[in-house]
Structures are given as structure tokens and as C-alpha cells.
Amino acid sequence: MDKNKVKEIIARRVAKEFKDGQLVNLGIGLPTLVANYISHDIDVTLQSENGFVGMGVAPKEGEEDPNLTNAGALPTTIKNSGAFFDSATSFAIIRGGHLDYTVLGALQVDEKGNLANWMIPGKLVPGMGGAMDLVTGAKKVIIAMTHTSRGNVKILEECTLPLTAKGQVDMIVTEMGVMKITNKGIVLVEKNPEFTVEEVQEVTFAKLIIPDDMKEME
């Protein structure tokens, strides 16, 4: 499947989760694309953890403001209804339970809802940035990622990389389907009709629970 198509499927599906009036933080990379697919019929406020709510679209070329960037240091805009604040307030919003959703990528995620997305010992140590606070504090945590990465399986029985947080993930959205983390394990609640259950299971190293009412992923 084409890479951009894969990203679009994931971003489009994540955007369907949001409801009118909710506050959402979108992580860097693929999760950022989710903003493009939020329905115009609902009012969703985006937070940028470097210090504002009401994040808008990317600015036109030539209209970038060096003092207005997203958490990835890229130029962005703010809506008229938005507000700026300092980093302590920003993380009070995040940690204090005021954020409805955080959407992040993952290196690994497991059936206990554990997430690893901040380092690979000896190889890559970018740091956790705001991820640990986001995953700990948001009401719902959605992992938006490609189902595998360069052939590596990322949905596991147990993460092997250093954790970002323990037992905090609620939902995983990949190009293959939508999975919910439950006490019993990972439930495949929606499946992309382009794949069979067996194909999804083959690249998932945790036993998938297939409910009777499994839906087709839109």
C-alpha cells in the first residue's frame, strides 16, 4: 500500500473519534495529519504543548511567524479563539486531566496498554519531551501508527524497549484496523477490509480478540 495512503487511512480514522467541544493534543509526525480530517461540523480545540490552545493550519508561505511554532518547531497559526500560556500551565492542562485525547506514535505498544516511544538504548535517545506527561494525563490515549515498521512488529505481548508509561494506552489505530486495549487483551474492533484477520494477526505479536460485532474500518 502507498505510504501516503496508509497515513491518510490512519489519520482519517483517528479524527472520527473526536466530539464537539473536545480538547486534543496531536503528536509530531503522523498524528499531526489527523488535524486535516477533523469534521467541520464539530469544534475541536487543538493544544500545542509549547504553550497554546486553538492551533490552526500551517501558515501560507511568507506568512510564518518565528514566535509561533508547533511542538516540532514548525511554523503554525492560532485561531481567533485561541490562547497562549507558559509551559507550567501547558502541562497543568495535560497532567491535570483537562485534555480529552492525546494522539501519539509508538515504537512498541503492548496488550497491557504499555507504550514505548522515547528511546532505543544505544541507538536513539531523543528524550521523552512531553510524551510521558501526555500519556499519563490525557483522558484517552490513542496510538496512531503504521502496523509494522520496516518489517518490525510493534504490537506485542510485552514491550521490550524502555516504557513511556505503563498501562495508559486505550486505542491503537493502524492501516489494518482499530484495536482497543481491554483487561482481557487487545480487541480488534474494526478491520480494514483489504486485510484478513489472519493477515492482521500475523503481524501482531499479541493474541487479537475478535469480537462477533467486528466492524469494517471506514
Binding site: 509549547n50 506527561d133 524502555p162
Partner: protein
């Protein structure tokens, strides 16, 4: 007023072995002119407390590039390859802290609190070696306050008394760092007379500010 100093004077206040806080988020909202001047002085063995180590070739990212720093306390180093290199060669000690914890540790010192207790980092390497406190049945990590000898911050507007206003997302760590250091030096894009800023909209009260760098661009 006495608070106005030159870039050179500001940079000279930073000395070997000091702990400094530098405002900014991946460089946005950092006091670039003071940092440029500071790099000329080639100060050594600094401990840098900042959100990140920015990018090589700019602002506080270059403090690492020029090997002026022996230790960084930050939430993210992924945008500055030099930080990673020096960490692997053991020239630089890197303490990674969740961003919200870092903000609150800085705020706590400025607010006179003895510690921050936070759920962030539970069940991860962040809790290793730290005290865990149970309050009303919930577990928290005890994180100690962070202070600095000097905070270098950036404001959009300062009056000559040191009242500050920040611009957009350039605010980030600046207001809390202004409360957590022995000496606070502000680089302002614009300096105005006392009375020109509406006290209703002042974001950092002047009492936290020791020096303002004049607008000798």
C-alpha cells in the same frame, strides 16, 4: 534605570561552573543575542537547564556544540546531534526529564515548594532511584525543585523597570525560569518607558528581573 546593561556586561555575569536556565522551546523564545555573546566568552563547565538542546548552529544549541556545557537537564535532545555525540563519548552528562516535570520543578523552586509529586514517569526509568510517595492511595514520584545561578530569558517587551510581556509561543519556559534563579537577565525585543505597559497585561512582574539587556542590536 540601574537594570539596563549591555550585551557584554550580561554575558560576563555567566561564569565557569555555573548552573544556568535558558528559556526557549527548540530555540523559539530564547535570548539569542546574549547567547551569541556568551559563546564568545568560551565559559566552561556550565550546567544547562532548558526544555531541550535546540539545534546545532543556533542559540543554546551552540553552547553544547562549543563544549561549554558539562551537564544538561532537559526533556529532549533529538534535534541536536552534538548533544547525543557528547553523551555517547561521555563528555556530557545528560539528564532527561519529562517536560511537564521539568516545568514544575522549576516553578516549584521559584514558588518555595519542597518538591513536586507527580504521576508522570511511574513504571518507567524516570522513577529509578527516586522516592515514591503514596497519597490517598495513589502513587507519585517525588521530584526535587530546580534552581539556577542565572536565568537567561527572552521577552517581547520590557519596561525599564523589568515588567515583561512575551510574544505567542515564545513564552514557554521564560516566565517560570524568571522565578527560579538568583540572577535573572532579560533580552527584550523592545524596551519601553515605565508606565507604557498596562499592569493588567504584564506577564512577569518586575520584581523577578535583575537586568535587562539594552536594545543595542
Amino acid at each position: 534605570m540601574k537594570k539596563l546593561i549591555s550585551l557584554e556586561e550580561a554575558a560576563k555575569l555567566v561564569k565557569d561552573d555555573m548552573t544556568i536556565m535558558v528559556g526557549g522551546f527548540l530555540g523559539v523564545g530564547s535570548p539569542e543575542r546574549i547567547l551569541k555573546e556568551l559563546i564568545k566568552n568560551n565559559v566552561k563547565n556550565l550546567t544547562l537547564i532548558a526544555n531541550d538542546t535546540s539545534f546545532p548552529g543556533q542559540d543554546y544549541g551552540d553552547l553544547v556544540v562549543h563544549k561549554m556545557v558539562k551537564k544538561v537537564i532537559v526533556s529532549h535532545i533529538g534535534t541536536n546531534r552534538e548533544t547525543g555525540n557528547q553523551m555517547h563519548s561521555k563528555e556530557l552528562e545528560v539528564v532527561l526529564v519529562p517536560q511537564g516535570t521539568l516545568a514544575e520543578q522549576i516553578r516549584a523552586y521559584g514558588a518555595g515548594l519542597g518538591a513536586v509529586i507527580t504521576p508522570t514517569g511511574l513504571g518507567t526509568v524516570v522513577e529509578e532511584g527516586k522516592e515514591i510517595l503514596e497519597v490517598d492511595g495513589k502513587r507519585y514520584i517525588v521530584e526535587k525543585p530546580l534552581r539556577a545561578d542565572i536565568a537567561l530569558i527572552r521577552a517581547s517587551k520590557a519596561d525599564k523597570n523589568g515588567n515583561l510581556i512575551y510574544d505567542k509561543s515564545a513564552r514557554n519556559f521564560n516566565p517560570i525560569m524568571a522565578m527560579a534563579a538568583d540572577i535573572v537577565i532579560v533580552e527584550a525585543d523592545e524596551i519601553v518607558e515605565v508606565g507604557e505597559l498596562d499592569p493588567n497585561f504584564v506577564m512577569t512582574p518586575h520584581i523577578f528581573v535583575n537586568y535587562i539587556v539594552g536594545d543595542d542590536k
